[in-house]
Amino acid sequence: MSDIVERTLTALPGLFLQSQPGGGPAAAKTPFSSRLGGLVRGVTALSSKHEEEKLIQQELSSLKATVSAPTTTLKMMKECMVRLMYCEMLGYDASFGYIHAIKLAQQGNLLEKRVGYLAVSLFLHESHELLLLLVNTVVKDLQSTNLVEVCMALTIVSQIFPREMIPAVLPLIEDKLQHSKEIIRRKAVLALYKFHLIAPNQVQHIHIKFRKALCDRDVGVMAASLHIYLRMIKENSSGYKDLTGSFVTILKQVVGGKLPVDFNYHSVPAPWLQIQLLRILGLLGKDDQRTSELMYDVLDESLRRAELNHNVTYAILFECVHTVYSIYPKSELLEKAAKCIGKFVLSPKINLKYLGLKALTCVVQQDPSLALQHQMTIIECLDHPDPIIKRETLELLYRITNSQNVTVIVQKMLEYLHQSKEEYIIVNLVGKIAELAEKYAPDNVWFIQTMNAVFSVGGDVMHPDIPSNFLRLLAEGFDDEMEEQQLRLYAVQSYLSLLDMENVFYPQKFLQVMSWVLGEYSYLLDTEKPEDVIKRLYKLLMSDSISSETKAWLIAAVTKLTAQAQASDTVERVIQEFTVSLDTCIRQHTFELKHLRENVEVMKSLLPVNKSCEDMVVDASLSFLDGYVAEGLSQGAAPYKPHHQRQEEKLSQEKVLNFEPYGLSFSSSGFTGRQSPAGISLGSDISGNSAEAGLKETNSLKLEGVKKLWGKEGYLPQKESAAGDGAEAPPLPPEVSPSENIDQAAAKRTQAQVLAPSKEEKEKQLLASSLFVGLGSESTVSLLGKPDVISHKFRRKSKVKAAKSGEAASTHNLTCSSLNSLSHVAYEENDYLTALQDGEDTESKDLPLGPELSDSESLSELPLAEKVSDCSLSALSLFADSDMEIFQPPSSAAASLTRDIASASCFLEETAGDMCSGRMEVCSDETVSVSSYKLWKDDCLLMVWSVTSKSGSQLKGADLDIFPAQNFKISEQRGCCLPVMEAGSTKNFQYSLQMEKPFTEENLSGFVNYQMVDTHSVQLEFSVNLSLLDFIRPLKISTEDFGKLWLSFANDVKQNIKISEPQAALPSALKMLQQKLRLHVVDIQGNEGLLACRLLPSTSSLLHCRVHADGLALWFRSSCPALPDYLSYQCQKVMMVGPGI
């Protein structure tokens, strides 16, 4: 190809004289186009940047005159646009022409329009205001009968289009999906893809049409739709599993060469199409055995067919390998893929080598032995002149680091770090080194030295987590107290020696770390007095290169040391120097120091030695200021309002016209639209009351029982993981490591293949053996997951204390509230109780609602309480290690239940319906059936899956696993895995679920694995639907608390619901909300009601409802932005269904 583009600029003047060769004869004849030629010629003839600037400015001003002259024809304008584009490309501002480009696109004939559109797409960006002027033109052109115009419009839409204007063109583009010309369909698909990228919710409804595009008879259209599918499957692969078969079929036909020859590229059939398809398959088959099985054949075929004759086949092979490793593994394929990786890595072509390394990086965690195979190549790449190869190699090494090779790998990384100047590379590498150092450090000295290197190179660009993690590690310490002290001591010593060096400048972050460590741990030094350390800090303080932030750190360190030192002149000097500092922060610190020095007792208690992790009890409520506040108030000062309240008031005053667009209605179905915030009176009784209550609070500062802790979360002082000590044993030095031998043997084998190793070779092999140590022993590792054999040297202390205190707080009402939640469930499920309730309702219509509800609550609680206590007792006897309600589900094949538990399980069966959801069979085959229950526990949703064996045969090792879901936190509860299930018996799996992000409905899926006695294991998949309501629990608070909370929540949603007979509706509506949504009725005042709930684990939400003539006004507030929306949706659902049901 290079010979094609032989002609260079030197030929330019000559060519010019003969007019222009090649295309565009029409353009060449007009005088205007030669103006472009003149411009280009002028520019190329110039020698300096300055002259070019002058010329272009000249050109631009003449263009400006031309385009704005009324006599300029569109044709001339077209030429002007091309020249403007040229100027813009060179980086000169031609913004005066933008509007003319739009005009040209609007008014010109076909050719002029084309230039106009091109100019617009080059000049403007998506949010440029002028673009709005183009929308009309685009709409017109989309409706044009001329194909070229439609094409141009579609092109501009997919290049730049304002997001707000999508609805204007969307229906037109949708129509184009049915167009008879494939080029139009293809472009329409890509335009819709663009919309999907910038506004996914606007194209939700046309997903079905994408499927049509996928089945289009034109290959191009189908290929375009793959862009969309790749994207959507990346976002959510579970929704498109049903298409796997189609993708496989398409790939099969492409690989099999069934496409027209037209699509071949260097005799490879549609390589880009293959790449897309392979990627899609990789995403679909990830962690999904059944889907993966569908694609094994075609992957095998692809691997086989991709004969290595051209670059592009390597591209396909690479994708194949990637896919094979990302789907559910199959050993044959893996073998072949591994061989392919070998071809890449060993290729002399540098591009392929790079990709080989990239592939290795991806798969090395699944199969470390592969890295071992190619160790010599990897070593070579480590010294490759091409930095990108080096980088990729380091990335690979980073993935295979373990405690035995960490020193060598980190050393290599540091070497690279010292050479590189790009900031993003430094940030990236420094982070990795810090991570590896903390994870695998072989000893203290190495750790501190490595971190010193990290801090001095990474300096001020590194991620702020790195120094703070380091300091936390030092402060919190780890399990071995001796080690901990030594690490601190060594850090202090090394910093002192670093500070003693003359004329060395350290980054500010490093100095901050040093000053903190010296301030905290200098006391460990025997050889030097605090006074000496202070002197060094003072020297730093007086240096000019220190930022004021670092100075503040230094003064803090001096203050800490002053508490330990007796009288010190240096401190005196510090005080003198900095009490007059212009920096207020430093001055403040110095004054604190000055005053503390005058009172040694206070200073010692305030700055204890080695207590950085201890909590300090501080009166955060500032109760000692009460008198002052009271005095101020009595003198007429305005009471304090919290920030958000002030803002709210400000907003409500400003609210004249609402310029904010109204939020989209939550559901498009026929609910009454939500009112604008101004529609509902802000000053309802309730909010007024609570605001007042809040004010009173501030007036009197009622602070009994407030005990806030200042400082970090508490940590348990004593050691708590004695069991971990075994794993904690310091890793063996590389020389004596047992796996070393294996690796050296492996290295020797390689050596044997390489004939007569030179000295250099030997060095490399030495390096190899130190790099790949520890990998061989893991080569038997399972393919499914990354082996987690990390033994952290610096194991952090866990935060048991914090957890415990939280637990203690919640235990006091744990029992009663768990009963409550059960009773609410019972409302839903138990006919008997509902009947009771209904009967009561009719009797007590006129009674105030509050007592009635609480009455009925207690009524229903009583019998249940007995039942529960009974059942948990019997459950205890059944499952010795469980302390929660477990019930034996009614077995579908209850033939062989053992006698002794029969009675208990019968009882459980009876109560099961009361406290949990109905039993639901989620999947089954001829031998097992899996059913699920929901248990609405107070602190989580407990999902119980019971696997019941139907047949008489024995099941071995039944196991159940849940796929991770992004919205949940799932933790297994005591999975007691019986090795062999009693035939016909049942096994329960419990998972507690917490919601991470609110949603309305979500699927949770998992699979059951079991083994028949003589056949191999069988896998069954299931999924369960969970709704937001499963995670809502009543929040029991007083009206006063409600008022306070109401004010502190910023996110609110208002909603009007039309109901018949609004006056009578409040009690029944509240009751329904209480029953169906599990909201707690806080208070009822006249025609208003207050409800509260919390979303597990601890997001609370409040609801204020008021009855008015038209219906019910609901007003939600919560600390979580999304929650009010979801709740209001649920309320609507409940209310629309109506109280009758």
Partner: protein
């Protein structure tokens, strides 16, 4: 997705600059310069991929380039594109240019800047690969050229007379794969068709 396509000559003079992601004007120029310096440093015998400069987003983006005589063709892509695939896409683009201009050279790119953009629009649309089939791209371009010629000839005529020509259709090349029993069957989807 393709973030940007840059073509510049051995001296760093831009010949084609097309961004698919929004960068401010000055940044665009800086990116061109930075990319030029990154690419220029590299020998011809080392790999055709390199990490994007700091302006374009660091190691998440790749620069994939080819060097033809006096011109560098650089595609800046994110991690979702196949490196080798893009490398061959550059080849497709250049070969198409060659077919459209009959022995393309740097001058063609200068004097027919608009045309080069039109060709590029057929290959890459809004950052996505639209067409990799060279014949198809050339056919599209020829159709547009014919349009140009007919318009050029009729330029003196009143605009209304032109509209007849405007409504002509693009030539349809049989691209359907319904050849005998070889057509692509997509099972499970018949209900949507």
């Amino acid at each position: 997705m393709i973030q940007a396509i840059l073509v510049f000559n051995n001296h760093g003079k831009p010949r084609l600059v097309r961004f698919y992601q929004r960068f401010p004007e000055e940044i665009q120029q800086q990116i061109v310069r930075e990319t030029f310096h990154l690419v220029l440093k590299r020998d011809d015998n080392i790999c055709n991929f390199l990490e994007g400069g700091s302006l374009i987003g660091g190691s998440d983006y790749k620069l994939i380039y080819r060097h033809y005589a006096t011109l560098y063709f650089v595609f800046c892509v994110d991690s979702s594109e196949s490196e080798l695939g893009i490398l061959d896409l550059i080849q497709v683009f250049v070969e198409t240019l060659d077919k459209c201009f009959e022995n393309v050279c740097e001058l063609d790119l200068i004097f027919h800047m608009d045309k080069v953009h039109y060709i590029l629009q057929e290959v890459v649309m809004g950052g996505m690969v639209l067409e990799t089939n060279m014949n198809e791209i050339v056919a599209q371009m020829e159709a547009q050229n014919r349009l140009e010629k007919s318009e050029g000839g009729l330029s003196a005529a009143p605009a209304r007379a032109v509209s007849a020509v405007k409504n002509m259709n693009l030539p349809e090349i049989p691209r359907n794969i319904n050849i005998g029993d070889l057509n692509i069957k997509v099972p499970n989807l018949s209900q949507f068709v």
